[in-house]
Subunit: 67 residues, 2 copies
Amino acid sequence: MHISELGSLIKRRRKTLGINQKQLSELTEIGLRTIKGLEAGKTNPTFKTILTLLDVLGMELMIRTKK
Amino acid sequence: MHISELGSLIKRRRKTLGINQKQLSELTEIGLRTIKGLEAGKTNPTFKTILTLLDVLGMELMIRTKK
DNA sequence: AACAAAAGTGCAGTAAACTGCCTTTTATAT
DNA sequence: ATATAAAAGGCAGTTTACTGCACTTTTGTT
């Protein structure tokens, strides 16, 4: 998992749910400009931003030791 | 998963591996002050910082849709 | 108890995330 | 072909993550 992956993953999920960037911005209360930059893989988002987005998108993040 | 969880998770893993904060800082090339703040749950780290730490700690991050 | 190592904390500078505003490009209709 | 909606991108201001330095507190060892 790296940053560009994260962006495309969120973009894909958003489209699956049938919402646009503006709607996602309103639902998450994250600035539209931030969402655009993140989906394009052009910024290095903070943990909070990621968690807020995943929550609204019905996704979860897990961390575990590599086997 | 929220920020304080992330901090304690990383701290626990670091101790399991038997290294101190300074060594982790050197291995990851992330500032010692940053690691201290993160383990204490006092900052909102960036995705890059998290991924770098997890990598050196032999951990991985996954994202999936909630069932 | 004394000492050393590790961890925690305040402060200040730099870089970058976050944000809004506005313009341009691209896609999707009619 | 035009009009509309969605996405992309430049720019500038504000906030905050990241960092080093210096000092304090806690933990562990002899």
